[in-house]
Symmetry: C3
Subunit: 134 residues, 3 copies
């Protein structure tokens, strides 16, 4: 399979990193098919949303609201409230599949592909991209 793993720096604060350019570069010239964007981590997800008008920060802040970093979680490894990070991928899935037409992702004008990582303890993350030809 045409597949590749790249690393990105997510830092020590919750983040939504734009990986659109990396995925776009991977599919360039590959013709028609589907690209799978898969994050092999248990505390991260892939979101397809707008960036540039504040929605990426809105998302990070709202995740904190929906999954509070308090003592409610049974999972108690890592930083306080880290159990919240482990519930996140059930909602913001680590897997996304995007159609590719003539080597270009068929995204809408305002869509970007983001790696969502609320985990403070890991500063680098891997992303696997895989292309299935039509």
């Amino acid at each position: 399979m045409d597949t590749e793993v790249f690393r990105i720096r997510t830092g020590d604060a919750p983040s939504a990193a734009d990986i659109t350019g990396r995925v776009a570069a991977f599919v360039r010239g590959k013709g028609d098919g589907l690209v799978s964007v898969f994050v092999p981590h248990a505390t991260a997800g892939v979101a397809i949303i707008e960036t540039g008008a504040g929605s990426d920060r809105d998302l990070i802040r709202h995740l904190d609201e929906l999954f509070p970093r308090d003592s409610r979680w049974r999972h108690r490894h890592g930083a306080p409230g880290h159990g919240a990070d482990h519930v996140l991928p059930a909602f913001v899935s680590p897997s996304a599949v995007i159609p590719v037409v003539d080597g270009v992702m068929a995204l809408g004008t305002w869509q970007s592909v983001l790696l969502v990582d609320t985990n403070r303890d890991n500063h680098h993350r891997s992303v696997r991209v895989s292309f299935i030809s039509a």
Copy 2:
């Protein structure tokens, strides 16, 4: 790739429009494979849920509860509270992949494919369907 874009009217109120028939018509006769249902918009998602017993309206109402249309959002374009629409696709993904067996989606009895669009400002939406043969 066997891919097609269709338009549907979503109107000026938050809606969950049943697009099962459109996707079913697209895959008919195509044999075995996967169908990708992808919405190229930054304020819409694809949900696979039941319709007919009120769950589509339950979903729309509950989205309002989980993503309140108030002034908390940094994204401030469009109607008041529109920032909520931009966080939605991180949870209700714009991308869904459904197995197709002998030209028919392998949905359960009570599953329908819905286009979820809480955005009041756009009255029409595009949906891209793509078929990958097994």
Copy 3:
């Protein structure tokens, strides 16, 4: 298509059942491609999260928080609060796609594939796995 349906017992309480082994067995020896894990039920989803440190129980408990089993739902069939189960799959999708490299899912160390089923009324569930070769 290389596709198969297996049944698992989910019992009469909300559960997150680990189906990683079943999916792993299905893809073994199949080479490179994508595996689709699809649950043909309207009140269940597929989550890719960690198990073993409590996160599966955290998820089930938090679903109860985010989708309360009270009288707010229009969908009124089944047990009290069952309408909540019908909104779940819009967030925890019944469809997941995972890359497969040389017959092995490219999961991270801490990722497991879970069938999330908050529905108390159905004690057995089907899961369809389908493999698309690269």
